[in-house]
């Protein structure tokens, strides 16, 4: 543990008193383990909502099951904690029926790429206008440390004590090839940077996919730890702006810890726009 000076603490407390994004925090005390990366993620989410000036009652946060599934409890918005893997279908139906709302769908890596992996291609290709936040800690947190779809090959987990025999998925590459119109990567350890990404994702008209690198401090002591993340996470080295699939794919392959907006297609209409045009023409 680092030594923390009392001046430093006072200064921190002062900023906390002055921030106005607290209106997006619910009264519930988070139940996550101390030090969990998820605190940074909701922090970024509060700030993004503040800067976007969203009305609390016009936000709905939809989650699946997992430690990440608890997110809506801690946000002062309408919240729906659904089923393991199913935040995408519920958020999609909600957004299509209520275009006026801002809909965040959150999911863990098990949620999004394991049990609910079948939904991702379709919400992406349909370009349904929701913001999808993947809390990627590369482990099953809530069920206490089994391998997930992003756990590295050979890493020892509670379900694979001899080492994970499965090759991990590459979430950004998947999102790109499924045709997501907005793909980004953020880092739970940098709430300010993540806030910017979530803001852009929310403003994007279409399906926005944000992979968030975050540690599970309790069940992963060797791979995606704070220490490793601090060493590895950087800004994107390859320069991208907007719609450049080739570079975006290179980032997916070569920069697994590069943080920033990886791909954005602003011209593609979102699903409701498509439906309106098609139904008018038909």
């Amino acid at each position: 543990m680092e030594n923390i000076s009392s001046e430093y603490l006072d200064e921190k407390l002062e900023t906390v008193r002055n921030i106005d994004f607290l209106q997006y925090r619910s009264k519930e005390l988070p139940t996550w383990c101390p030090g969990c990366g998820y605190f940074g993620i909701v922090d970024a989410l509060y700030r993004a909502c503040r800067e976007l000036n969203l009305k609390n009652e016009d936000i709905v946060t939809v989650s699946g099951i997992g430690c990440s599934g608890r997110t809506p409890v801690f946000i002062n918005s309408y919240g729906f904690h659904t089923l393991h893997g199913r935040s995408i279908p519920v958020a999609s139906g909600l957004k299509l029926a209520r275009e006026d709302l801002t809909v965040f769908a959150v999911a863990g890596d098990g949620d999004a790429l394991g049990i609910g992996g079948g939904h991702l291609p379709h919400v992406a290709r349909k370009n349904i206008n929701i913001t999808f936040l993947l809390f990627d800690n590369s482990i099953y947190g809530l069920t206490k440390g089994q391998s997930s779809s992003t756990t590295p090959y050979e890493m020892k987990t509670n379900s694979h004590p001899a080492g994970n025999p499965d090759t991990p998925l590459n979430p950004v590459r998947l999102a790109l090839s499924y045709g997501a119109s907005f793909v980004a990567r953020g880092y739970a350890g940098d709430p300010e940077g993540l806030k910017e990404i979530i803001k852009k994702a929310t403003l994007h008209q279409g399906f926005s996919f944000v992979q968030i690198l975050t540690p599970c401090v309790t069940f992963d002591k060797e791979n995606r730890t704070w220490k490793n993340l601090k060493l590895k996470v950087t800004g994107l080295k390859l320069c991208v702006e907007g719609k450049n699939m080739e570079t975006a794919m290179r980032i997916a392959e070569d920069e697994p810890h590069g943080v920033g907006i990886i791909y954005q297609d602003k011209d593609r209409p979102h699903y409701q726009e498509i439906l309106r045009t098609i139904n008018k023409a038909g």
Partner: protein
């Protein structure tokens, strides 16, 4: 003046126009003022020359079942028709091609398989079709001409019906169909000496009302639109697909949205999402899809989010028999899934009640904030009836959400315990109404709560709400009331109820003292009415289309008395004839 009640079947190969001929016949007869019910069967394969049967019952009185035995069989293809002869009545009529394109081998001609007492008419169907239009395609219309001539149907009006059917096609298509009909009609009048007693002349008909010729799937879509459905999500599956196809055309015109999803989990998930948003939403499926939806049925009940699922049952389990009718999802609909999970299940008993069930389902789901399953089957989805145009839902059925008042929003408890279990529901966008919903057990605010007392309190709340639904159950249908004692009481559900009613009515004429009971709402079940009925009956008979007697098991549990079961898994709809037979034996 006399009554008539007759079943006509046209049997041919796929692609011979068998089904269209049946359709024209039933439309025409409905227009003439008769009651009609038709139920066709065709091969599951899209291509090929499989057997098609257009089955139509025509009557001057109300029809409750399609009729098991056939009065008139028209064979467009003897190879297929031979197996249909088994259901031709002993005094029935066979119409067959006397000069088929390829001469039949000895045992391949339908007429060779008729029994003494049957009347057969050999008509050169193929030859007449060639004469009228230069090819065999018009054989189906020639056949219609033959029956029009034989059974005294109005020729000119029949011709108009054919014209109307092909109205949008090229003139040459209309002409060849009409000419084929006239050819068949003329030849029969000239060459056939009538030898049977069937005739539509001088039949006593009830007063003409505007009629809708429609099947259950079409009515489901219509009821949903009339009930202000705003969102539909679905995944294709026989026999429910048509509902999605109709709504994909119609829903956008009504300002709604249709989503074809990647699977049924996603479909019901999206419906629950839209329901959470305060919009009316539904999906339709069959057994395999219903199985996938199970996890969300629990969430809908637990998180108290309105959702409507139409399950049109087919043969099961698993992929089962996609194109055959069965009533084997009763257990799964009423009690499938995990936990103590009370849900509303409505089982329409005939074509018309498919409309009523959907109107009621969308209303109840919204008001009671829960799951409603509408349990139809292949037969109800696809059989066609002419019915009175349904009355549109009353305004109170269209807007049923109980929203929280200003006072309640001061300290809003989304899951507040109330007298009837219904907690006022805010929808997203409501200021001061912010809440959190979860499939976890929760307290009145919606916060996760695993406490023993909390779980009991909330489970009781969900059941209280469920029981309150009973006050909205449509009155059970009882064939014969006003008597205090019956030898046999027939208790049925869903599409079997029509046959049960019909059986009881016919049994009266044989001197069997019986009545029948059915309730569209099967969960919660109007137990009091059921027990009252049962108390009047010496014996109870429960006919249904499944092997194990799922509803019989459910019912005997309520009645605490033994019941007689009658079960079929033939893939055919329940037949009143089979019920009567059983009643005679009891």
């Amino acid at each position: 003046m006399k009554d008539i009640n007759i079943v006509i079947e046209i049997c041919g190969s796929a692609g011979e126009g068998t089904i269209s001929a049946g359709e024209i016949l039933s439309r025409f007869m409905s227009g003439q003022g008769f009651e009609i019910m038709s139920f066709d069967s065709y091969p599951a394969e899209i291509r090929g020359f499989g057997k098609c049967v257009a089955h139509t019952r025509i009557s001057s009185n109300p029809i409750y079942s399609p009729g098991k035995f056939v009065d008139v069989l028209i064979s467009l293809n003897d190879k297929h028709s031979i197996s249909q002869l088994g259901s031709l009545k002993e005094s029935g009529v066979l119409i067959y091609d006397s000069q088929p394109a390829r001469p039949h081998k000895e045992d391949e001609s339908a007429v060779g398989w008729t029994k003494p007492g049957m009347v057969s008419y050999g008509i050169p169907l193929n030859m007449l079709a060639h004469k009228a239009a230069g090819n065999a395609r018009g054989m189906n219309m020639v056949a219609l001409g033959v029956i029009a001539a034989l059974f005294h149907m109005e020729k000119d009006q029949f011709t108009d019906s054919i014209k109307a059917r092909y109205g949008k096609k090229k003139q040459i298509v209309i002409d060849s169909n009409v000419n084929s009909f006239i050819e068949g009609y003329g030849w029969t009048k000239e060459n056939i000496k009538k030898n049977d007693s069937y005739s539509f002349k001088g039949v006593n008909l009830p007063e003409q009302k505007e009629k809708l010729i429609i099947n259950g799937n079409q009515l489901v879509a219509r009821a949903a639109l009339d009930s202000n459905l705003s969102f539909y999500a679905g995944y294709p599956i026989t026999p429910a697909t048509k509902i999605m196809e109709i709504l994909s055309r119609e829903l956008p015109k009504h300002g709604g949205t249709l989503l074809q999803t990647e699977d049924e989990i996603s479909a019901i998930g999206a419906v629950v999402g839209a329901g959470f948003g305060g919009k009316r939403a539904m999906t339709a499926t069959s057994g395999p899809g219903f199985a996938l939806m199970t996890e969300f049925t629990g969430l809908s009940v637990m998180a108290e989010v309105p959702a409507v699922i139409i399950n049109s049952q087919r043969g099961g389990p698993s992929t089962g028999i996609p194109t055959k009718t069965e009533q084997s999802d009763f257990n799964s609909a009423v009690s499938g899934g995990t936990g103590d999970c009370p849900r509303i299940v409505l089982a329409p008993t005939d074509t018309k009640s498919c409309y009523d069930a959907v109107v009621l389902a969308l209303y109840l789901a919204e008001k009671y904030q829960t799951l409603v399953v509408v349990l139809m089957d292949f037969f109800l989805s696809n059989s066609i009836k002419n019915i009175d145009v349904p009355q549109k839902p009353l305004p109170e059925y269209l807007n049923a959400n109980i929203a929280p008042g200003k006072d309640e929003l001061k300290d809003y408890k989304r899951y507040k315990i109330t007298k009837n279990g219904i907690s006022p529901r805010a929808v997203p966008g409501t200021k001061g109404g912010i809440f959190f919903s979860t499939g976890l057990e929760h307290d009145e605010y919606g916060r996760p709560d695993y406490g023993e007392a909390g779980h009991l309190k909330m489970t009781r709340k969900r059941f209280k709400k469920f029981n309150a639904v009973l006050s909205e159950a449509p009155a059970p249908e009882i064939s014969i009331s006003g008597k205090n004692e019956f030898d046999i009481g027939v208790i049925s559900w869903g599409s079997s109820a029509g046959a049960a009613h019909e059986a009881v009515m016919s049994a009266q004429k044989e001197g069997i003292n019986a009545s029948s009971f059915s309730s569209m709402m099967v969960s919660p079940f109007p137990q009091k009415a059921l027990i009252e009925f049962s108390d009047k009956c010496k014996k109870i008979l429960i006919p249904e289309l499944n092997f194990s007697g799922q509803f019989a098991g459910f019912t005997s549990h309520i009645l605490k008395r033994p019941v007689e079961k009658l079960n079929f898994i033939t893939g055919r709809p329940m037949a009143s004839e089979d019920i009567i037979q059983k009643m005679r034996e009891m």
